[in-house]
C-alpha cells in the first residue's frame, strides 16, 4: 500500500545510548518518513547497531525518546512494546538464523506464534516469502548448510514473515560480493516499493547507501553524536564536514604526518 508521503513514521529525539558508564552516542535526533529507506551511517564502532538496538527494544536508552507515530516507545509498558514490536521486522548481521531449524521453519515460526493460520496457509506464505527473496530451493536446508548470501536472504524472509510496517536491517550486505550485494539492495528497494514498508538500514557499505537510501543520519565515533543528516548522495555532494566527506569518498579523515606521498584528504 502506498504510504502517505512525507509523514514521519519514526521520531528519534536527543537519544543517548550507553553500555554501563561507556557512552556510545548522545544527542542523536532524526525523523524517518513513512515508506522511505533511511540509512544510519558511520564508520565501524560509531554506534550504528547500538542505535538500532535502542530503536528495536533490545537496549533501553540512557536518555531521549524513540516515537513510533505518536507513541513514545520506551515509556510504554512491556506488553505494549511487545505489541508494537510485532510490527517490526529485523534482519540481524549474518542473518542470525535459528540453527536448529530449517530455512522454512525459521520463516514459519513467527507466523505460528503470532497468527491463527492453518499449517497449510503458513506453508503457502512461507513459500511466497522465500520466493520473494529469491530462494526457490533449499527451503528444507539447515542454516549451517547455507551460504552467507542465502542466510541473509532467509533472514530477510523471516523479517518479512509478519508483513512488518518497519523493517530494520543491520549491515544487510556486509560480507556479500558486489553482485550479490547489488541484488540484495535491489530486493530491499523492490520490497519497500511493493509493501510500502519503512526501512531503517544500518550500513557502512557505500554502494548500498548511495544506491537505495532516501535519507539518513551520520554518526561520528569520536564526537559520539550525529554530525550530519540527509540523503547519502546529498551528503557526499554537499557536506562540508571532513569526517563525512572522508567516509563518503573513502578517504582518510586526518592526514597522516608520515604519509610518503599524495593528499590523504583527497578521494582515492
Amino acid at each position: 500500500m502506498a504510504a502517505a508521503p512525507n509523514e514521519p513514521k519514526i521520531r528519534v529525539r536527543d537519544l543517548k545510548v550507553s553500555y554501563a558508564a561507556n557512552v556510545i552516542q548522545q544527542g542523536v535526533s532524526f525523523e524517518v518518513k513513512e515508506g522511505s529507506i533511511f540509512a544510519v551511517m558511520g564508520a565501524s564502532g560509531s554506534g550504528k547497531s547500538t542505535i538500532l538496538r535502542a530503536m528495536t527494544g533490545l537496549l533501553r536508552p540512557s536518555g531521549g525518546t524513540v516515537c513510533y507515530g505518536s507513541l513514545d516507545y520506551w515509556s510504554l509498558s512491556d506488553s505494549r512494546r511487545e505489541e508494537i514490536g510485532r510490527g517490526f521486522g529485523v534482519l540481524f548481521q549474518g542473518g542470525a538464523l535459528w540453527s536448529s531449524m530449517s530455512a522454512a521453519e525459521n520463516v514459519a515460526l513467527p507466523l505460528q506464534m503470532f497468527t491463527k493460520l492453518a499449517p497449510s496457509s503458513i506453508d503457502a506464505l512461507v513459500q511466497v516469502k522465500l520466493s520473494l527473496v529469491g530462494l526457490q530451493s533449499g527451503r528444507d536446508a539447515m542454516p549451517s548448510a547455507l551460504s552467507g548470501g542465502m542466510r541473509q536472504r532467509v533472514g530477510l524472509a523471516r523479517a518479512l514473515a509478519l508483513d512488518p510496517q518497519v523493517l530494520f536491517l543491520d549491515e544487510p550486505s556486509a560480507g556479500l560480493d558486489p553482485t550479490s550485494a547489488k541484488r540484495f539492495d535491489d530486493l530491499i528497494r523492490d520490497l519497500r516499493d511493493g509493501f510500502g514498508v519503512t526501512v531503517v538500514m544500518v550500513s557502512h557499505e557505500l554502494p548500498s547507501l548511495l544506491g537505495i537510501c532516501d535519507d539518513g543520519v551520520f554518526l561520528d565515533a569520536d564526537r559520539k553524536t550525529a554530525i550530519a543528516h540527509g540523503a547519502p548522495l546529498a551528503l557526499r555532494e554537499h557536506s562540508s564536514d571532513p569526517a563525512v566527506q572522508a567516509f563518503m569518498t573513502r578517504a582518510t579523515p586526518i592526514a597522516p604526518t608520515h604519509a610518503p606521498t599524495g593528499d590523504a584528504n583527497g578521494p582515492h
Binding site: 500500500m1 502506498a2 540453527s99 536448529s100 507466523l111 497468527t115 491463527k116 493460520l117 492453518a118 497449510s120 496457509s121 503457502a124 506464505l125 513459500q127 511466497v128 516469502k129 520466493s131 520473494l132 529469491g134 526457490q136 530451493s137 527451503r139 528444507d140 539447515m142 542454516p143 549451517s144 518479512l160 509478519l162 508483513d163 530486493l187 523492490d190 520490497l191 516499493d193 511493493g194 509493501f195 510500502g196
Partner: protein
C-alpha cells in the same frame, strides 16, 4: 456461469470470455485461507477462458496473502494455458509478483523412507567408524605424548599449564563439596546399620575402603565429566563452528598436538591427584559424622582406618582415576571434533560428552572391579 464464486477478499465475474477477479478488503495474514483456492481451481478448469484479469479499486491493504493467492492463480492459469493478465493489479503488487518466479518451485529431493534393518545396519556402520576414529585418536594422543616428552610436539607450555590449572586447582571446591557430603552420607548409613550389631568401630573400615577404592574415584570422575569434559566438547565444537580449528590445520598445526594433547594430559594427570584429595576429604566427612554419632574417639577411628586401607588399594584407586581421566578427556575431545558447525551442535556435544563420560566411567569401573577380583586386590 450461473454462480459467481467468491471468497474472503475476492469475487469473480465473467467479462467477454475473460474471468475477472474483483479484489476487495484487506489482504492481511490474519485472514488468509488457502482452501478458498479450491473453488477458484474448479472455476478455471471448467470454464473456457481467454484470460484471468483483476480489478483492485476496492482493495485494502496489500499483504503476503495476496501474493500467495495471485501466485497460485498464476500457476493454475499457466498449467491450463490461460493468459494471466496482471494489468488490473496495483503497481506494488505487480512489482512484487515479478520477484516471484513463474516456474514451479524446484522440488526438494524426496526422502525415501528408511527401514528398520537399514537403520540398524547404518548404526552398526556408524559405530564401527566411530570406534575406528576413537582408536585412531587414542593412538595419536599416545604417540604425540611421547613426541611431547621428547619436545617434538607443536604445543605451548602455557596452554598445558592453563589446562592443568583449570582441570586441577579449578576443580578443588566442587570436588571437595561433593566428596565431603558423600563421606558423611556413607558414615551415616554405616553408623545406623553397624551400631545394631555393636560393630561401631567398623564404620572406619567402611569409609576408608569405600572412599579409597570406589567412591572418591567415581564421584570425582563424574564431577569432572560434567564440569570439564562437557566444557572441552563445547569448546572444540564452538571452534569448529568459528573455523578456528580449520585455521590451525591450514597453517599446519596439528589439532591433536595443539588442542587435544594439553587437555588429555591435564585431565589424565590431574584426576589421580584429585582422587587422593577427594578421598582425604571424603574420609574427613565420614570422620566428622562418625565421631558425632558413635562412641568413637578420633585416635581409634584413625588407627582403624590405617589398619583397613592398604597401599595396593590406594594404588588401585589411583590407576583407576588415571583411566577415568583419560577416558573423559579423550571421549569429550572426540565428541567435540565430530560435532557439526551450528550452535545447536555445541549444546548437543556438551550434553553428549557428559553422558558418554559418566556411562564410560561406570563401565570402566566395572571392568576394574572384575580385574581386581581376579587379582585378589
Amino acid at each position: 456461469m450461473a454462480d459467481s464464486p467468491s471468497g474472503h477478499g475476492w469475487a469473480s465475474q465473467v467479462r467477454d470470455g475473460d474471468l475477472l477477479l474483483v479484489l476487495n478488503q484487506n489482504w492481511t495474514e490474519t485472514e488468509f485461507d488457502p482452501s478458498e483456492l479450491v473453488p477458484m481451481q474448479a472455476l478455471l478448469e471448467h470454464g473456457t477462458w481467454n484470460s484471468v484479469r483483476f480489478e483492485a479499486s476496492q482493495m485494502g491493504r496489500l499483504g503476503s496473502p495476496l501474493l500467495a493467492f495471485l501466485d497460485s492463480i498464476r500457476s493454475m492459469a499457466l498449467r491450463l494455458n490461460i493468459r494471466f493478465d496482471e494489468t488490473g493489479l496495483p503497481g506494488p503488487a505487480r512489482k512484487l509478483m515479478q520477484l516471484i518466479p513463474t516456474a514451479a518451485p524446484v522440488a526438494e529431493a524426496t526422502r525415501r523412507p528408511v527401514s528398520f534393518i537399514e537403520q540398524l545396519g547404518q548404526s552398526v556402520i556408524d559405530a564401527g567408524r566411530e570406534l575406528s576414529a576413537s582408536t585412531r585418536l587414542i593412538g595419536q594422543v599416545i604417540l604425540r605424548s611421547a613426541a611431547a616428552l621428547r619436545g617434538q610436539a607443536r604445543l605451548r607450555k602455557v596452554d598445558v599449564l592453563a589446562c592443568l590449572s583449570e582441570a586441577g586447582a579449578g576443580a578443588l571446591p566442587v570436588v571437595a563439596l561433593v566428596n565431603v557430603l558423600v563421606g558423611g552420607i556413607l558414615a551415616f548409613v554405616g553408623a545406623v546399620e553397624l551400631r545394631r550389631f555393636g560393630a561401631d568401630i567398623y564404620v572406619a573400615n567402611l569409609i576408608g575402603v569405600a572412599e579409597i577404592r570406589e567412591m572418591a574415584p567415581i564421584m570425582t570422575a563424574i564431577v569432572m565429566s560434567g564440569r570439564t569434559g562437557s566444557a572441552y566438547a563445547a569448546q572444540i565444537a564452538t571452534m569448529q563452528g568459528t573455523e578456528e580449528l580449520d585455521a590451525l590445520r591450514v597453517i599446519g598445526i596439528p589439532v591433536d598436538d595443539y588442542f587435544i594433547l594439553p587437555r588429555v594430559t591435564a585431565l589424565s594427570l590431574m584426576m589421580p591427584l584429585l582422587n587422593l584429595y577427594a578421598a582425604a576429604i571424603g574420609i574427613f566427612g565420614g570422620f566428622c559424622v562418625a565421631i558425632a554419632m558413635l562412641n568413637l574417639s578420633p585416635a581409634v577411628f584413625l588407627a582403624q582406618i590405617e589398619d583397613a586401607v592398604t597401599i595396593p588399594e590406594v594404588l588401585f584407586g589411583i590407576v583407576k582415576s588415571f583411566a577415568f581421566g583419560a577416558w573423559v578427556s579423550i571421549s569429550s575431545c572426540r565428541i567435540g571434533l565430530r560435532a557439526g558447525r551450528s550452535t545447536n551442535d555445541v549444546g548437543h556435544a556438551a550434553t553428549s560428552a557428559s553422558v558418554h563420560g559418566i556411562v564410560g566411567v561406570i563401565i570402566i569401573d566395572a571392568v576394574f572391579a572384575g580385574c581386581a577380583n581376579a587379582l585378589g586386590i
